[in-house]
């Protein structure tokens, strides 16, 4: 589903990813590990279509993503890839429900109401739908962010340090949630984390150091 061929990426003149190559199949749960600054978040941004590589090719579902016109790339990434940020990135001025609907509004895709309801129930946030995000706890906000990432039934969910701001109890619940969601929705998860407990659930580990993949094992 995802294939990196000798991909490099940088911020300005600072190289972050250096000649990375790997491929990932569907329904996996991939864990990205590595020290801070190793390039985990940058790799997720490249996968999400937010940061063009300076070198190499990135194929998603057999399409060279960055060769697509920008509108097509946006469309593809919005519909097929969901992103969960470490700091949630929810809009405090609109309700939880509207935050979750944002990808469907942006990609002009109608929302499957039954799926939406089941998603809220799965994530345990059905009672918060009409509330505003800044009234929720960190774990609840993280679940809302997950719901937003999953609302379009993406093939891939990217999560950047999803437990980074959560206590251990909440982290455990979130990990259970990932597993449960993957089981029910058969979605590919790529999770960047320092959390060993979270890393332990992965079906595959990609270890990055200094912008390069130093370990790729199942």
């Amino acid at each position: 589903m995802i294939e990196f061929q000798n991909v490099s990426a940088s911020y300005g003149s600072v190289p972050v990813l250096k000649h990375i190559s790997f491929s990932i199949g569907a329904s996996e749960l991939v864990v990205l590990l590595g020290k801070s600054g190793s390039g985990k978040s940058t790799l997720l941004k490249v996968i999400a279509g937010l940061l063009p590589p300076t070198e190499g090719e990135y194929h998603f579902q057999n399409k060279n993503v960055y060769q697509l016109p920008i509108s097509k790339r946006k469309e593809l990434c919005t519909q097929k890839i969901g992103f969960v940020w470490q700091n949630y990135r929810l809009i405090p001025e609109i309700t939880v429900e509207n935050n979750i609907f944002l990808p469907s509004i942006i990609s002009r895709t109608p929302v499957d109401r039954d799926y939406y309801a089941s998603l809220l129930n799965l994530l345990g946030i059905a009672q918060y739908a009409k509330q505003y995000p800044d009234r929720l706890s960190g774990g609840e906000q993280q679940r809302v962010a997950m719901a937003r990432a999953l609302i379009l039934k993406p093939d891939v969910v990217l999560a950047d340090e999803p437990t980074g701001a959560l206590d251990s109890a909440t982290s455990s619940k979130l990990i259970d949630l990932f597993l449960q969601t993957r089981e029910q929705l058969h979605t590919l998860f790529i999770i960047a984390t320092h959390d060993e407990e979270l890393a332990s659930i992965g079906t595959r580990r990609l270890n990055l150091a200094d912008g390069q993949v130093i370990q790729n094992e199942r």
Partner: protein
Amino acid sequence: MKDNLKLCSLALSRRNRPFWVTAILIFITTTLQCTAISLISFHQIRLEQARSNVYGYFYSLVYQTPADYENQPVDDSYGTIQVVHFFDDSGQSVRIGTYNPPARDLMYQGREKIDLPADRNSCLTTRSFAAQSVNADVGTLSFGGMSLVPVRTIPDIGYLWPKGESEILSDMLPPDIWVNAVTFNELASSSPAQNYRILLLNREQAQALKDGYISLPGNSYINMNIVRDANRYIYKIDRAFSLSQLLLFPGLLLLLLMGYSHYSRQRYAIYSDLGLALPALTAVVRSEFAAVSVMPFACSLAAGGIVTFLCTNGMYPGLQIFTFSGYFEILKYYILVYFAGLLIGMLLARRTVHQKDRIRRKSGHRSRLPMKGTAYILFSAPLLLLLTSILLVVVSSFTSVNALNEAVYTERYGQIRQNYDFEITYEDFSLDSQHYISGTDLIQKESSAYGAIPFFFSNHSGQLDHIINRIEELDGVQRVDTFYINMNTLMAIPETTAASEFFERVFRSPRYFPDGPFTDLYVPEIQSAFGECVLYCYPDTYLTSIAGQMDLAPEALSSVLSGDSVILEAPAICIKEEAENYVAWKRDTEGDIVLNDPALDTYTSVRLCIPQADRNLEGFIPQEALTLLGARLAMPEIPVAGVTNRNLGWFDINDLERGEYRVFASGTFFKKHSIWHEANRVRIFLDEGADADYVSRQLQLLTNSIPNVRIVDRHYNLEMWHEYRTLEKVVYVLYAVLSLGLLISFAFSISYCYWLENQRNVTLYRDLGITARRLFYSLAAPFLLFLLLFLFLQLLFEHFALSILLVGWQHMSLPLRIAVPSAIFGVYAALFAGALGSRIRELFRRQDYYE
């Protein structure tokens, strides 16, 4: 599009405070603007209507030679006047013109109606012409074998009549004699002089001609009196004010939109990261701009209309001034510039989105600068400069208009300030044929107890006396004050002074003494000489009020009221030498009043006159000037309780060229000296809520048989005056609120943007242990330093640029010029510091805020 609208509608969430705060700010400020502008404009419309009803007007004249209008039909509706130069028996040129009611209405609109009887021998004459040329014995004029009977005199040059240099050079002055068209044709057929005609046009007619591309031959002249008044005096806000408002409108909107986009940039970044393409994001931002601008502005227009409607109906009950079409006509340019501002904002939205993207990406890799945000300082300071300049223009505009209006009230329309409703004046200057000064019957001579012989003479005939009682009985009349005016009173002065050329000119004037020099004819035995003054008898209440203004001692006031002394008002003086007129005094650079020309003492010809309205702005004549005046013209040798050099504000327009002392005395003084004291001016005060129209009609009925009576209806003007003063205060308050609102919104918007720019840094500094005070200084210092720099630049700009560009600015004192920008910058800095301080306090109070 639909989805963009959906995204836009999300911005309308009640939790989206930036949206609603921006909308409310736009609503408040634009409502204030719309209300203030429309109220001022409607009031101006009302005042212009009132003024034209009282004084009448016309804006343009077209003078044509026979060649100009040959073969063209004469359109009487424009007020055509035909004029012929006729040479009388002595070879003097006399201008005879046709009397045309439309022209009369344009010239004397709202004033006393002067009608010319249909009789072919009847005519009207100007006053000076009557004094010089009418045969007093037979009371007729003879021209071309025709004997004309003057039935009425009219002012030489009406207030409404232009007498510019062009007219004088072209000898195109108003006629001396006005006759019927039939009579005119008879006279014109025997005249060798060229005919020409005068078209009088009011503004609408002139505009209609221009709009219709009608080429009207002839020389066109503007009635500068009216134009000057319209542009400079009387309730007119100058053009700089309107321009500043037109600039302020879109500027304010742009400022608020930029602030709004700053507040919303995190949301836009999330939209972008969730896959919204830049064009679509730009469309969303534009939609939000439109929503946040149009909705409150529409509400503002409605609210402003309602407030204006209620205010105008409250102020002018019964007068339907407000119309919605008129309201939008007034505001149309403001609406246009507002939407132009919105358009610019929408065009900038694309740039804003790109910048947000750039800023967001940069924010991941912040620079090492301890504080960021100089861009906001540079962004805010020029806008602050603009705002300050605009407010200065407003202040200077009001200052200028007020100064000019005060001068006009004082000098030209002084009566407006008097608190009465109607005034009836028997005009001494209206010299009908039966009232020419001739013979000793018009002179009363009496011995004086002061070693000289004062003479008082007048042509009173007690015309008003017999109706005063009837006026007092009218319903609604509260009080009637009676005034006596002796226009030509001779007061004893030293002989040396009397020998001056000034008195020679006065006493040998053929205007007053057509049969020969006054002294030769009537008082040859007088050894002393005389000075001329106008003796006014004022009601005791007025004298008490005047004494209060002069700080007159109670004993002195008592002596005035008992008729033992008088109050002398020294006139402002002009010096005449050859053809030049000078105002004798001026203010020097330090504000002191000094002689305008040090060579004054060498002048041989001195003329007293009251300066024109715009000349007396420099102030009143100081004591030093009076002393110097006394060296030439000694004070009258009658007991003077006090001398005032303040203009007491009561004289007629026709008196402008007359120079004299004015002496204010009580009725008792008149009686003690056996001076004739028939009333020639009556002021009528109405009860509150009285039917002014009824009283007006009754006054017309009571006086219509009396010639030379002028009724002035100040009821209208008083209302107008008080309403204007009230409105002026309202407008001041509105603009004070508006300015403060702008400063508040401006300071908070910029401080918030500045905060956003630095929030990660300041959170870090907080966590590293910086104190709140130090954090505040670190954030505020660069901003305040820049403000000081811009204040300095502002003052330089105001001093060098505005003093050249703006007349109003010149009326502002130096401390005010510095105080206004300093106050604005100071208030702004305080608000900014307050907003910043509150955020820092909040940051320290909520330790987890940015966790």
